[in-house]
Symmetry: none
Subunit: 233 residues, 2 copies
C-alpha cells in the first residue's frame, strides 16, 4: 500500500542542515532530492512531484510561507516545515498557509521520521485524488504550478484577479461555484455582495479565453447561482 521508496524534496539553504538530513534520510528508505532556494524548490516540486516536502522557512530568495501557498495552489502533498523560529505566531502562520506539520530546530531525527511516517500515512489514505498540476479542456491549458495560461498553445496574459478567478474555477472544475464562494476566494470576505465584480471580470476572462466570447463554451454561467468551468465527461 505504502510507496516503496518515497521521494523526499528538501528545500533548505544551509549546507550543514542538508548534510545532516541527507545522513538521516538517504539510507535506502527514502530517495532524497534537494533544492537550496525557493525558486528551485517550486520548480522541483512541480517537475518531480515528490511524495513529501521538507522546507526551511528562512530561504535566501523568498519567504517559505509564500512558497507553501504557491505549492498549495495545485498540490496537496504533505509539507513539513523545519524552522529555527519557535514563536507560536510563526507556527500558526505556516500551518494556516498550508503546511501539515512544523518542527522547531533543533529536533530529533526520530521525531522527524515519525512525523514523516504520519504524513505519508495521510497521503496514502487520501491517495484517491492524484491531481495533475495542469488543467486541460478544449483549447485551454492552465499550468497551475507556473501560473501560465495557454489558448491553442499561445500563452495568454491574465491580470492577478483574472488568474485567481480562473484558478478557483479550475479548482472546482465541472462543479458550479456560487457567486458567494467566488467572491470570497478572489476578492475576500468583505466583498461578498459585489456580484457585479464577477460579471465584469467574467466578461474579461471570456474575451481572453473563449473563441466566441458571446457564446461561451468553457466559462458557463448558471443563472442565479454562479459559474462553472466545463469539463468534458
Amino acid at each position: 500500500m505504502a510507496v516503496p521508496q518515497p521521494l523526499v524534496l528538501l528545500i533548505e539553504d544551509e549546507p550543514q542542515m542538508r548534510r545532516f538530513l541527507r545522513a538521516a534520510l538517504d539510507d535506502g528508505q527514502y530517495h532524497l532530492i534537494e533544492a537550496p532556494t525557493a525558486r528551485e524548490g517550486l520548480a522541483q516540486a512541480a517537475s518531480r512531484n515528490p511524495d513529501i516536502i521538507l522546507m526551511d522557512l528562512g530561504l535566501p530568495d523568498g519567504d517559505g510561507l509564500d512558497l507553501t501557498r504557491r505549492i498549495r495552489e495545485w498540490s496537496n502533498r504533505p509539507i513539513i516545515v523545519l524552522s529555527a523560529r519557535g514563536m507560536e505566531v510563526d507556527k500558526v502562520a505556516a500551518l494556516d498557509a498550508g503546511a501539515d506539520d512544523y518542527l522547531t530546530k533543533p529536533f530529533g531525527v526520530g521525531e522527524l521520521l515519525a512525523r514523516m511516517r504520519v504524513a505519508l500515512r495521510h497521503a496514502t489514505l487520501a491517495a484517491s485524488g492524484k491531481e495533475e498540476p495542469e488543467f486541460l479542456e478544449g483549447d485551454l491549458r492552465v499550468d497551475l504550478a507556473r501560473r501560465q495560461v495557454f489558448v491553442r498553445s499561445q500563452e495568454v496574459h491574465l491580470t492577478p484577479l483574472e488568474y485567481r478567478l480562473l484558478q478557483t474555477l479550475v479548482h472546482h472544475a465541472g462543479k458550479v461555484v456560487t457567486h458567494r464562494h467566488l467572491l470570497k476566494e478572489v476578492w475576500g470576505i468583505n466583498s461578498i455582495a459585489q456580484t457585479h465584480y464577477l460579471r465584469v471580470y467574467m466578461t474579461q476572462l471570456r474575451h481572453k479565453l473563449e473563441v466566441d466570447p458571446t457564446h461561451p463554451r468553457l466559462l458557463l454561467t448558471e443563472p442565479g447561482v454562479g459559474y462553472r468551468l466545463k469539463v468534458s465527461s
Copy 2:
C-alpha cells in the same frame, strides 16, 4: 464544504486542563464533549463519532497509546495527543501508534487551534475523494455535487427554483413531502401558503424531466398531502 461546528472529544483527567481547553474551544466554533477516563473516552468515541479527538497520554485507567490503537482499529478520525512527556521516544511511540499530532504541555492555544485546523483539513480532503452523491431513477440522473440534471444522458437546464424543488424531493426520495415542507424549503417560511407556486413549478419540472408530462412516472402527486419522488424498490 467544511463541517459547520466540528465535534471535539477531549479525553483528559485533570480538571484544570479541561477547564482551560473548554475556555479555548467551546466558544461556538467547536462543540466540545469530555471524557475523564480511557474507558469513557473509547465509549464516547464510538457512540458520538467525533470529528477530532484530543487525548492526554497519562490517564488514570490506562495508557493513551493503547487507547489510540484501540480507536484506530475502526476509526481514522484525527487524534491529537496532548502530553506532559516531552521525550522523543514518547512522541515517536504515540505517532506510530496512530496519533496524527503530538503537543507537549505547556502549549499555546493558538498552536493547538492551528493544528486542529490542519487535522480537520485533512479529514475533509480525505472525504472529498469519495464518490459523488447521485440520484438515479429510470431516465433521470441528478448529480448533486455538480448541480447537474440529466434525462437519458442529456443534460437538462433547471432554473434555481426548479432545482431547489427537485433537490428537496431527492433529499426525501421515496417519501411524501408535504406542501408546507416544500414551500418552506424552496420559497421560504413567508410563502408557506402559496400552494399555487408548487403546482406551477411542478408542471415545469415534469415538462423538463418526464417522458409524458401528463402521466408522471417520477414526480408523483399525493392528493391533499404533497408530492413524492418515486424510487424503484
